[in-house]
């Protein structure tokens, strides 16, 4: 009988590489956040995802005495935002987003969502596969690049700005284009975890284990339980 014990050597090398690259980047200077800030936000996202008794969606961590450390590198509003994205994403509203953008810049917010996405992918995979949680990497010094595309425009299909032309791609495809490093990282992860971009239109594509409908069954059930309409 097959055993359900899994070791890291059982994981496809391309998947291990994508997760490792994304996880290490949590400690490196990003586009709008420094390495220590990104790590701190990643830690809050991980706690949000995994604590058995989470804060309610309307309760911000910064309003709870002692929840956040006193010597934060990132502002408390950023921790509040990433907690909500990581734990209660299905409850987010446009008015909440506008409020956050009053505290952070919209592009810093996009990177923050990217941090939550990386943490969610790696934490969820290791939990499901039965692998021990990963330790966060060490912080790397240096300044954020502040690299800003010159062709940012409002979108009808997202709250966030995207690169022009807007709305000619799916909303999830254009969502991170304002922060190219996060955009690239996310789609590297998606290629390894789900389906390579160029194969997306093939309903018969398989890695040799799950059929495409079986993959979509897992996708649909997780999305349903996460209350994600999209």
């Amino acid at each position: 009988m097959a055993t359900s014990t899994v070791a890291i050597v059982d994981v496809r090398p391309d998947l291990t590489a994508a997760h490792s690259e994304a996880w290490q980047a949590l400690g490196q200077p990003g586009t709008w956040w420094s390495g220590p800030q990104r790590l701190e936000l990643a830690a809050t996202a991980r706690t949000a995802m995994t604590e058995p008794s989470p804060l309610a969606p309307w309760t911000a961590p910064s309003t709870i005495d002692g929840w956040l450390a006193d010597d934060l590198a990132a502002p408390p509003h950023a921790h509040d935002a990433i907690y909500r994205v990581a734990r209660h994403a299905g409850t987010l509203t446009e008015s909440w987003y506008e409020g956050i953008c009053g505290e952070l810049t919209d592009l810093a917010y996009v990177e923050l969502v990217g941090i939550a996405c990386t943490v969610a992918a790696v934490v969820a995979f290791r939990h499901a596969a039965g692998l021990a949680p990963s330790e966060l990497p060490s912080p790397v010094g240096g300044e954020p690049s502040r690299a800003t595309p010159s062709n940012l425009v409002p979108a009808a299909l997202n709250w966030v700005r995207v690169t022009s032309p807007a709305d000619e791609r799916a909303a999830v495809v254009q969502a991170f284009t304002s922060v190219p490093a996060e955009h690239q990282r996310l789609w590297n992860l998606a290629d390894a975890q789900y389906i390579p971009d160029l194969e997306m239109v093939d309903p018969h594509w398989t890695r040799g284990t799950l059929s495409r409908p079986q993959m979509e069954l897992v996708a649909a059930r997780v999305s349903r339980l996460r209350e994600c309409f999209y």
């Binding site: 299905g90 509203t93 284990t209 349903r224």
Partner: protein, 114 residues
């Protein structure tokens, strides 16, 4: 995507079973995959259910299949946060065209519908 891929593979998927998390989905190993995906959706939950679901899936499909299913689950932990964090929405005509699927998935009243 589930309806589309099922149709293209000449397979009828029971979306209500997917929404409810039980019943005959209409796919090989559907019950094991559905249980595994349900347990994988909540990393904060007690580990007993994911352990049992993982063991059952490995037993019928092998470790490589279970790892690929875990990777797909991880992808949709990621993509749901991307979509809801950036306010992603479909064009209205696409939502109208998918009304039947939305209803069968029990998604019409979700807060995240924009």
């Amino acid at each position: 995507m589930l309806s589309w891929s099922g149709h293209e593979n000449d397979t009828e998927i029971d979306l209500a079973a997917v929404a409810e998390g039980g019943g005959a989905v209409g796919l090989p190993l559907g019950s094991e995959l559905l249980r595994f995906a349900s347990a994988a959706a909540d990393p904060a939950a007690d580990g007993a259910e994911i352990h049992t679901a993982r063991h059952a899936l490995v037993g019928v499909g092998g470790r490589a299949m279970m790892i690929d299913a875990a990777a797909v689950a991880a992808n949709f932990h990621m993509m749901t946060r991307l979509a809801d964090g950036t306010g992603a929405r479909y064009p209205a005509p696409s939502v109208d065209a998918a009304a039947s699927t939305i209803a069968r998935m029990g998604a019409a009243e979700m807060v995240s519908r924009r």
